[in-house]
């Protein structure tokens, strides 16, 4: 395997956070109604 450049780690971290950020944002929206009163308090009606 070839040695990557010094930008690899920051770019990898940004990509990983972007993917899971989108996923968790979607999941919170999707499951908001399932979470109940506490969820609605946190995420709005």
């Amino acid at each position: 395997m070839k040695v990557p450049s010094r930008w690899v780690v920051p770019l990898a971290v940004v990509w990983i956070i972007a993917v899971q950020g989108a996923y968790f944002a979607y999941s919170v929206g999707y499951y908001r109604e399932k979470i109940g009163v506490f969820g609605r308090f946190l995420f709005g009606p």
């Binding site: 395997m1 690899v8 990898a12 971290v13 990509w15 990983i16 993917v19 996923y23 109604e33």
Partner: protein, 635 residues
């Protein structure tokens, strides 16, 4: 306990049957011990499949299947003697020694073994997935009650004519060890898929941690966790797909024909599991074709591998051609039957965002981050494959181009030609897991100072979220699997697509006397209900009508009453409502079943509305057949 002993014996018999063949095909030791184990299991199940195929249409009961099992065990003896037990033990000792000095490797091994054991034991939970209740288990149970494997025309389902490699393994197990062992077989295929992912990672230049990580990523994938404890078939196809790729990559080292034959047999085995194995073969066929273009002299070897793979499928194809006139029934039906029915036309456009090139590029994103929106649900779980696999592009793993090519071709075929259900992408999950593990290992390897902490913090939520999926399935299925929760309680509290109908079906078993029959208008006709004594929606003289028209002919009320009287049905079971979960909020909604829209139910709707069911649950109700006949006669 007996189920775990049986499944261990089953695995050993398959390994013993397949091992001599693998050794014969890999004379130069191009495959590692782990790769040989995986390939041996996948070859070893084939004689069992063909044994059931040949025997069960003549006699299918405990005696014939135990006889087949005994013969298989005897044939496995030479293989057991050839297996390098000492070498295997030494490899385990070596790995334990490594793990003692490498906490991360030890943690990965512990997580892997815990996930694998949990998946295996969950298989002992009562079956409750929709497809299995409808046909994966229901049809073998019907065969067992009839004492022979016969075409189940009366189901009106093209699905019952799909390739049956796993179906015949289910038949063998159902007639011998019983229901508790059936689902555990799928876990064995899952283990082979995990071994394949680890082996692939090593072949691509990944280290020991990356290999174990890849195996863990396969077993922890949500759809794998779910399917490994069910009789669903995609796990077995996944195992065949990754071992075919491994055999192909090993073949590229020195082009020995034996390994190409092995790759062909893996592809043929995959096709015998599920028609999607054909797409896997086409996908791997592209790198094979490129190999031929570089060295035309290899065309004979590739042709030999293809012939071996196709040969596995020929008996099934001939059987289908004899039954339906279409060797690939129910696929390509319009090709073989002019004016024939396209059974899966509705499914083709049910999922996904569309079929444009933009949709093609964006599909991995949407299926990973918004799975409930466009696709078939939370199939992958946390999006770790999307987050990590692209990182491998920088690592440039060995043989990566061939692996990427196979995955890309399969993905394009899936996207444009198949139903866009994400679970049908399972054959390439081991490859994506290998890329993910290699990519993460590479980034972790070059991260320095506080970037290491940042990387761990970025990945940790994915690990926790996926771990939660694994744990939730364990919490749901392990209690009934080990007997802490009863089957009745489990089915009451654990939803499945339209209900398992467990309690009403048990009631029918208890209240249907020998020789009595009942009319079933339930959807689907559950595995838990008596099978052979049920009259489904198709009567014997019309049960093949769906082959040409796709649906049975209409039936007048007078004709129905006459048939009902002749049938002398003791009970009638009808669907009342179904749970619908693809709502905006994801919260389930009960939707009443419109009996008047049912071909036979329309003649019963007004009568049943006035009668009291003898027993019911939220999904189905059972009525007294005699009372219904009196009402039909106007008495």
């Amino acid at each position: 306990m007996m189920a775990t002993v049986h499944i261990l014996a089953f695995a050993l018999v398959c390994l013993g049957l397949g091992w001599p063949l693998v050794i014969g095909l890999d004379r130069r030791d191009a495959l590692t011990g782990a790769e040989r184990l995986g390939a041996a299991f996948l070859l070893g199940v084939l004689p069992l499949y063909f044994g059931v195929f040949a025997l069960a249409s003549w006699r299918y009961d405990a005696v014939s299947m135990w006889g087949l099992s005994a013969a298989a065990a005897a044939l496995a003896l030479p293989g057991w003697r050839m297996m390098g037990w000492g070498l295997g033990l030494n490899a385990v000792r070596r790995e334990v020694a490594f793990a003692r000095h490498d906490p991360l490797l030890a943690a990965l091994w512990i997580a892997l073994l815990a996930t694998a054991l949990s998946a295996l034991l969950q298989g002992m939970a009562p079956p409750n997935d929709y497809d299995s209740l409808m046909y994966h288990l229901a049809v073998p149970q019907l065969d067992l009650e009839r004492g022979r494997v016969l075409p189940a025309w009366d189901r009106g389902l093209p699905h019952v004519f799909f390739p049956e490699l796993t179906g015949n393994l289910i038949r063998l197990t159902l007639a011998t060890a019983g229901e508790a062992s059936v689902q555990m077989i799928t876990a064995l295929f899952g283990f082979v898929a995990a071994i394949g992912a680890a082996a692939l990672t090593r072949r691509m230049g990944g280290g020991g941690r990356a290999a174990i990580g890849a195996a863990l990523m396969v077993l922890a994938c949500r759809v794998m966790v779910w399917e490994m404890a069910t009789p669903e078939v995609e796990v077995a196809l996944t195992a065949y797909a990754v071992l075919a790729l491994v055999a192909f990559l090993a073949w590229r080292q020195d082009f020995r024909p034996g390994l190409m034959v092995l790759a062909g047999l893996m592809l043929g085995g995959g096709l015998l599991v599920k028609f999607h194995g054909g797409a896997v073969a086409l996908a791997l066929g592209v790198p094979m074709l490129l190999a031929i273009l570089r060295r035309p002299s290899l065309v004979g070897q590739v042709a030999l591998g293809a012939v071996c793979g196709v040969a596995l499928f020929v008996p099934h194809a001939l059987h289908m051609a004899g039954l339906t006139g279409n060797p690939l029934f129910p696929m390509f039906n319009q090709l073989f039957t002019p004016g024939g029915v396209d059974y899966f036309a509705d499914l083709r456009n049910q999922y996904g965002t569309g079929r444009s090139l933009v949709d093609l590029v964006l599909a991995p994103w949407f299926m990973s981050v918004a799975p409930m929106q466009y696709f078939d649900g939370m199939v992958l779980g946390a999006p770790y494959l999307l987050a990590l696999a692209p990182l491998a592009a920088v690592a440039r793993p060995r043989q990566g181009a061939a692996v990427v090519l196979m995955c890309a071709v399969y993905f394009v075929l899936w996207f444009f030609l198949l139903s866009q259900q994400v679970r049908f992408l399972m054959p390439i999950i081991p490859m994506l897991a290998a890329f993910s593990a290699i990519g993460l290992a590479m980034v972790a390897g070059v991260a320095r100072g506080w970037w290491r902490g940042v990387l761990v913090a970025a990945v940790l939520p994915l690990v926790v979220a996926q771990g939660a999926f694994v744990a939730i399935y364990g919490a749901l299925r392990l209690p009934p699997a080990v007997g802490v929760v009863s089957a009745a309680d489990y089915h009451l509290k654990t939803p499945t697509l339209t209900g398992a109908f467990y309690a009403p079906c048990r009631w029918l078993h208890a209240n249907l006397k020998p020789g009595e029959r009942y009319l079933s208008l339930m959807t689907p006709h559950s595995y838990y209900c008596p099978q052979a004594s049920a009259q489904l929606r198709l009567f014997p003289d019309e049960e093949k009508s769906w082959l040409t028209t796709g649906k049975p002919p209409p039936m007048s009320r007078d004709e129905f009453v006459q048939r009902f009287r002749q049938g002398g049905y003791r009970w009638i079971i009808v669907t009342r409502a179904a749970e619908y979960r693809r709502t905006v909020s994801g919260a389930p909604e009960m939707q009443p079943f419109d009996l008047t829209a049912d071909r036979l139910g329309t003649h019963l709707a007004d009568i049943l509305a006035k009668l009291q069911p003898v027993t019911s649950d939220p999904y189905v109700a059972i009525y007294d057949g005699r009372q219904v006949l009196e009402a039909l006669d106007g008495r």
